[in-house]
């Protein structure tokens, strides 16, 4: 047990089994990003997937919208300690976008309009675990939450769910992205409190 702070009792424990350790429930939806919110127009929006050998797929906004989408309800967890339960989204499963691309990559670098990057294992984006999401609560995703489209990987801390996502680069090597270079954990599992390097 850590060092006890005299007089600190904490809030009544919710004991909610869906809340990872160290997280508290947020009713609102805080925003975290490092610069101005990019205003990305959908008429020249493009999403690309590029393999380690340079094979490329690209979708316009209209093309992405035409792909089979899923509505899904998930819990999300931010490294700054808030979690939000039962958030409702709509988007295209990443698996659909990877499709039958010929790849032996184990890793993915997600890239965003505005220059943000984050790295993930490819396996974490498949099997219904990740989406390119463009609706939140039944409405188009607003720019401050990453609209027009963001990556959503709810089983990892939210910095992995790149806002304003513009593409996925498949790689055989695991290179750190923006926050990972700044000392955040390479993987970011909320249930293991992988906030920073060494956690």
């Amino acid at each position: 047990m850590g060092v006890v702070t005299p007089g600190f009792t904490g809030r009544a424990r919710s004991g909610d089994p869906r809340l990872p350790p160290g997280q508290y429930l947020a009713e609102d939806f805080p925003v975290l990003s490092t610069g101005p919110t990019p205003r990305v127009r959908t008429d020249n929006w493009e999403f690309t997937v590029v393999t380690e050998r340079g094979e490329k797929r690209a979708w316009s906004w209209r093309e992405l919208f035409a792909l089979p989408s899923e509505k899904f309800t998930v819990d999300i967890h931010c490294v700054t300690q808030w979690s939000k339960l039962d958030t409702r989204w709509r988007g295209v499963p990443v698996e659909t976008l990877i499709g039958d691309l010929d790849t032996s990559a184990d890793y993915v670098m997600a890239r965003s309009y505005g220059g943000y990057t984050t790295n993930l294992p490819l396996a974490d984006l498949l099997d219904g675990q990740a989406w390119v999401a463009y609706e939140y609560n039944g409405k188009p995703l607003t720019p401050e939450h990453g609209g027009p489209a963001r990556l959503l990987v709810p089983h990892l801390y939210l910095w992995k769910s790149a806002k304003w996502v513009r593409g996925l680069q498949l790689t055989t090597k695991d290179d750190p992205g923006f926050w990972e270079t700044a000392g955040y954990h390479d993987y970011g599992d909320p249930w293991r409190e992988q906030r920073y390097q060494g956690d």
Binding site: G2, T5, G7, G10, P21, P30, V31, G35, G183, E193
Partner: protein
């Protein structure tokens, strides 16, 4: 996790309250002694962990309010109504009481004293905290970088670091924007930060300034949009947002 050895800079360290100052009726500045503190940059933050007698823990992130000073670390904590951690830190938490702190964290929203570029700091409410660390780091380092601070807040009573900011500092211009209530005797009406404010109190877009904007989400969105509209390169605008937003 409690008891787990963490190597490197991000080990949890025991911190004890050395001094406390009431900044405003709802905010308290806490100065901790943290033996072995590795130092930090202005703009970085720390995680603070409180542990109850039954082992329950809660942790939150707070911006550092002052530059590195040996084993001394300073935070200013705003009391959030019903805030599990902030209510304790702004209330019963007393001199000598331990907490655990780890950090520093964050390498983007930082100002380095060796950087000669002009700086625009735009604070909304308690967003002044990491920006004040930059102002203090500038002074501590004897930097000649030109700083401008635009500090938006509701009322004069909510000013953090009021006396320190009132003392003139060469190369630092301070502009206050009051949104609800003006200081007694000041003409005009309360207003929000606007294009005019930042056009007048900020830097021209071609000066190569770096802008640091910290405050509630809506405030940061507004300010960043204004700076973009005034022609600032998006890569020169660094933001830190907190608090609720529209869905």
């Amino acid at each position: 996790m409690a008891g787990t050895a963490v190597s490197g800079r991000l080990a949890w360290r025991v911190a004890r309250l050395a001094e406390a100052r009431q900044e405003t009726p709802s905010a308290r500045t806490l100065v901790f002694d943290i033996p072995g503190w590795p130092g930090h940059l202005a703009g970085q933050h720390v995680d603070v962990r409180l542990t109850a007698a039954d082992g329950y823990t809660a942790q939150r992130s707070y911006s550092l309010a002052a530059p590195a000073d040996g084993d001394r670390v300073e935070l200013t904590v705003q009391r959030v109504p019903d805030g599990e951690v902030s209510e304790h830190l702004t209330g019963r938490y007393a001199a000598g009481d331990p907490v655990e702190i780890r950090g520093p964290v964050g390498g983007w929203f930082v100002w380095r004293p060796a950087d000669p570029a002009p700086v625009l700091l735009v604070a909304g409410g308690s967003g002044i905290v990491p920006l004040m660390a930059m102002i203090r780091a500038r002074r501590a380092a004897g930097s000649k970088a030109l700083f401008r601070l635009v500090y938006s807040l509701r009322t004069p009573a909510e000013r953090y670091y009021a006396e320190e900011l009132l003392r003139p500092v060469a190369g630092l211009d301070v502009t206050y924007v009051y949104t609800r209530e003006l200081p007694e005797g000041q003409p005009g009406i309360p207003r929000r930060i606007s294009v005019t404010t930042l056009n007048t109190a900020g830097w021209p877009a071609d000066f190569g300034a770096t802008s640091y904007v910290c405050g509630p989400t809506g405030f940061v969105e507004t300010v960043a949009d204004i700076l973009l509209a005034l022609g600032h390169d998006p890569h020169t605008i660094r933001t830190e947002r907190f608090g609720p937003s529209r869905d």
